[in-house]
Structures are given as C-alpha cells and as structure tokens.
Amino acid sequence: MATPDPLNKTPHGPYDPNNSGTCQGTVVTFQPQKTDANGTISNDGALVTYTVTNLTYSLSSQTSSSDELDVSHIGQAYGEPVLTQERPLIGSTGGGDSGKEVQIDFIGTKALDEDQKGELVIKGGIDLTTQAKVTSSSITLAVNDVIRGSVTFSVSSHATESGPHDGDCVTPTYD
C-alpha cells in the first residue's frame, strides 16, 4: 500500500452557481521583491503560490493612512454628517498603508520573513493586485495533520481591487 503524501492535494471542487459567494477557485500568489538604492524594484526570490484554506480581507484602523478619525460630537444636529479628521501619521507600506490587511491560512511550509515586501495577487472571489508587506507569518506542525501556515499582509494604498461578486470566480484549479 502506498504511503499517502501529506501534502497531496485534493482538487478544488467546481464553482457552484447555486451557492452564491462560494469561490473555490481563489488563487493567491506573492512575489517577494526588493528595492535597491536607486528605487528599482526587482524580484527577491521565487513566486510563492499558496494553497489557501481561508482568506480574510479586512480593514484595520490603527495604522491606516487613508481612513479617517471619527470626531463627531453630541452637539451636532440630527441629520448632520459624521465629522471626520485625517490621522496625523502616515502608513509605511510602499506608497502608503491602506489600513487593509489580507490574512490567509494555507497548507504548506512557505514561511516568509516579517517586513518582506512584494506583489500580492488574489484572483477569484476578490481580485486584488497590490504591493504588500508581510506583518506576521507562522507555520504549525501538529500530530496527524499536514503542515499549515498563516500569513498576514498589510496592503498598499495603491492596490487595485474588485469584488467580491457572485459568479466572480476564476476557473477552478487542480493543483
């Protein structure tokens, strides 16, 4: 009897149009990059393609340079707009921290260094192409389980994004 490969992957299931919002064809890649003294960006290692089991795209307000502070007060009249004020500090991811984060759980051993910058591309479910910086990364080995990891990226404010939309999935992959 052949020994099963713990990293042998089961093909992703097909996208079910009757189950809106499920995007099983999501592909996440990260191309580590470095910037030299002249500002030239070049690849810093091989492209990383993740076998993603979970992905969360969220807004974290603490370090954002683009979201604003709510300075509304109880002296305002009913129907007035919420008052906002720019944050005093700016972000540090590439051309500015958007305050948005992508956190993925994956199967594999692709640990990344903290503060590693590069291009993050997500296709399927949400489409996102952006400069991003690794803010945390971990790998977990457990009994009777495959090796799993988790990585969190902070997203540059220059990201291009769309979705998620129903039926916005790419063709399912069988990797």
Binding site: I74, G75, Y78
Partner: protein, 104 residues
C-alpha cells in the same frame, strides 16, 4: 421613541465645553442630611468627555453655573470643577474629560 443625543450644549462659568463626545449625569444619592450650606457630598456629578475646549486644571475646586441643554437634558446648577483628565492616543486625537460635582 428614544431621545437622540444631538444638539447637546454644555457650559460652565459661561464658557462652552465644545466637541463633546459623551456626557453623563449622576444624580444625588443618599439622604440630604439636612444640609443648609453649599455641600458637594452625595450631591451628584457630571462627567464630560470632549475634544475641543473646556475648563483647564486651574479651575479645580472652583464653582460656577453648569448649564446643560439639548438631547433631552435641561440642567442648570452650580457645580464645582473636579478632576480633569487628558488622554493622548497614538495616531488619533487627544480626549479630555472633566468631572463636576453639583453644589446643593
């Protein structure tokens, strides 16, 4: 229908406390103890958190009229300025809190 906390104004010693984020009034507690002179013990208090301007620390222990209107509130009472607190927040704004004790 609940009363909206809007158009709330507060002033102490004739000077407005501006950009208030929250205001809470705690009424008197316990017996009046037959008080026949100004007294702050158990007479109630007001706590106001604001972003704009308000009484500074130099006003501690002084009393003046505290007027609160709007948001279903209508108070006009002499109050002693008590503790003032400043809270500076990383990548945010500074919040101030002032506490008043009513004089009864």
């Amino acid at each position: 229908m609940a009363t909206y906390s809007v158009e709330v104004e507060a002033s102490w010693n004739g000077k407005p406390i501006t950009e208030m984020r929250s205001l809470s009034i705690n009424g008197p507690t316990g017996p009046s103890e037959a008080r026949d002179f100004f007294w702050v013990k158990n007479s109630g208090s007001v706590s106001i958190t604001y972003l704009g301007s308000g009484p500074g620390t130099g006003m501690w222990g002084r009393y003046a009229d505290l007027v609160i209107k709007g948001g279903g509130l209508d108070w006009n009472q002499r109050a002693v300025c008590g503790q003032t607190t400043c809270s500076a927040n990383l990548n945010g704004v500074t919040e101030y809190t002032v506490e008043f004790s009513f004089l009864t």
